[in-house]
Symmetry: C2
């Protein structure tokens, strides 16, 4: 694929040193506050977590806080309300792509429960109080356009939202759908023998950080420049950006076709954190064991060079708008991956198994790292390991 040209502030009339990522102290999925979140969940009553309700003669599933999306039974004929919200700070410098990523990221929570049609989106926007007027009037419309274009690509639209001034630039949204029970897949039916499929490579945070170090030519760049070239970092950053902006919609549609037993999307808590959350939700006594880690090319090498800084190979590196992690019957998984490849052109990976256990998740010692790249034709594929 021809690389999207880097966002050039000067062609937009901005100072050439303008960087969107400077308008925050935290980036992307890394801005989540897990310990506070845990307390918050406690405050709101963890009994809501997972439940069933008998409404209008039907047993209706209810899903509370803790996974991606809430499922609220409605009083009308077996319908449920599914909704989710997410917002965060810029982690890349291209405002248009940042808008697309924010939109893909919030929709991903619906996609994780097999919902492919979103009835409405709200957009949440924090305009940095540190923007000049010119910066504001350039950057914000680009972000909005990106968000809107992705919403259209997803077949939905944005009706409503809130915009505030804030020290840090902030973008996110709310995605809501009303649907029947057969239109969503509760994320709680994994059985021993299932396998785990992942639909996007890991390493988005590593790529964004490495790119920032390259730009700043700082000490960290000096540490990794023996391992990766500038071009490789630029390419990884570009690939990360496009992976984050990619919708998990096809991945979600195919969950129905291939009888998925439940899924989650991979974001701020890393692959292992989200696998653990999903494991905790299961009705059956199962463990998730991850053997393979598909990573944006060169990101595992960078992560290794940085010691424990990212936790990429430990599964704890934050991702933004990551792939779906899907439980599938063993005999369906390869077909699922083949079909996603046929429809979208992109590779998905069988990364682990579901075994009997006590609802936890782990990564095996020395997991296999699969290097992943976006090709000339725009599709995402594994690449043969190189010697570096």
């Amino acid at each position: 694929m021809a690389l999207r040209p880097k966002f050039d502030p000067e062609t937009h009339g901005l100072n050439k040193k303008f960087r969107l990522t400077k308008y925050t102290g935290l980036h992307g999925g890394g801005c989540k506050v897990p310990d506070v979140l845990v307390k918050l969940l406690h405050e709101l009553g963890s009994n809501q977590y997972h439940d069933e309700q008998y409404i209008g003669g039907m047993i209706m599933p209810r899903l509370g806080i803790g996974l991606d999306c809430c499922v609220i039974p409605l009083r009308f004929g077996g319908l449920s309300l599914l909704q989710t919200t997410d917002f965060f700070y810029p982690l890349i410098d291209d405002p248009y792509m940042m808008g697309k990523i924010a939109c893909a990221n919030v929709l991903s929570d619906l996609y994780a429960v097999g919902v492919t049609e979103c009835d409405n989106m709200l957009m949440l926007l924090g305009v940095s109080s540190k923007f000049t007027e010119k910066e504001r009037d350039t950057v914000i419309p680009l972000m909005i356009h990106g968000f809107k274009d992705s919403a259209e690509e997803a077949g939905t639209s944005i009706t409503g939202g809130q915009t505030v001034l804030n020290p840090w630039c902030l973008i996110g949204g709310v995605a809501t759908t009303v649907c029947q029970q057969n239109e969503f897949i509760m994320p709680d039916n994994a059985v021993p023998g299932d396998v785990l499929v992942l639909t996007k490579p890991l390493g988005t945070q590593v790529a964004c950080n490495a790119h920032q170090w390259l730009e700043q030519r700082n000490d960290k760049w000096n540490r990794i420049k023996l391992i990766v070239s500038e071009d490789e970092v630029e390419k990884a950053y570009h690939d990360a950006m496009f992976n984050m902006a990619r919708l998990n919609r096809t991945a979600s549609q195919l969950m129905h076709t291939f009888n998925s037993h439940g899924a989650t999307d991979v974001t701020g808590f890393g692959i292992l954190g989200h696998a653990a959350n999903l494991a905790k939700q299961q009705r059956n006594e199962v463990n998730f064991v991850i053997h393979n880690l598909p990573c944006i090319a060169k990101m595992s090498a960078i992560a290794k060079a940085c010691g424990n800084m990212f936790g990429l190979l430990q599964g704890t590196s934050a991702e933004t708008s990551g792939g779906l992690l899907i439980c599938l019957p063993r005999e369906q998984a390869a077909k699922y991956c083949a079909e996603i490849k046929k429809v979208e052109g992109n590779q998905a990976w069988i990364i682990g198994i579901v075994e009997a256990g006590s609802r936890t998740a782990r990564i095996i010692d020395k997991p296999r790292v699969i290097e992943v790249q976006t090709l000339e034709d725009g599709t995402v594929q594994s690449v043969p390991p190189t010697t570096t």
Copy 2:
């Protein structure tokens, strides 16, 4: 009413100088960015503004961005999705009451369209990165409790949300409902001869600011201290806090009983700004003319002493979680006010009229200011004007 004791940081183990309102540079409804919002609306396509759709053999109303709440026709038997979001920064120092206000404020957008049952709320939370750990662990649970208690009072619950670290403390939410057409009132049917009713007094921002000046004993306090006593400012702040935390739910229910022709809630753009927005939405060629301004006692005196700073008497002073501004048939308005008083004990006021015109709003020269106070029994009432 016995005054709620002031939030005392020391009884919570915090430094006595801790003030929640210091964790933001902007307060409440004042943080909205009207010009950016206008551009945003333009970006999202103002053709969504107001429309009808023919779905499943029914004409279904659709309401886009610009008023309080969007109305999205669903594909299921005449049902509509109504939702709204709002978030802002602390404008009072009591974290529990701040949580209640944030909840009342977001629900108010549903109440404005006559929706009294909310199917789900999401809570949006920004934990100030400047909080100490102790401050965070004290303040955030109190805010969550306040939000949750008001949600329960409203007969709904919070399932989902997002929490991020942010320089400024931030709180808000999303309120969503699915209902039939007869359960909501489109805000577009005012006719000449209607009158305008307001369900909460104005002046919340003036009260919060005056209270801050009193605490800081600054120049502005020196300017107003000849006009108001410390006790009067404390009382006004207290009244403002309770008015902001009060749900507009009864006000909304009674809109159905008394055949309301549409309503809006009064927040960041002030009474005139919201009246103008509502006027713009009308199907009929009408103007809204405001004659009376019910204000928290002493706030008009402060506003006058501060020149054009607030615009309270010009109708432009920002409110947070203000009352509903309701169009009612003339013969129903007094009955509406009497009934709200009977049910809640609180006064509502006829403040203006609807006349033939070109969909604008104005305040007459020298509007009558009605001084309003919360009484010992907790109800909100007009008080006879005093000589000050």
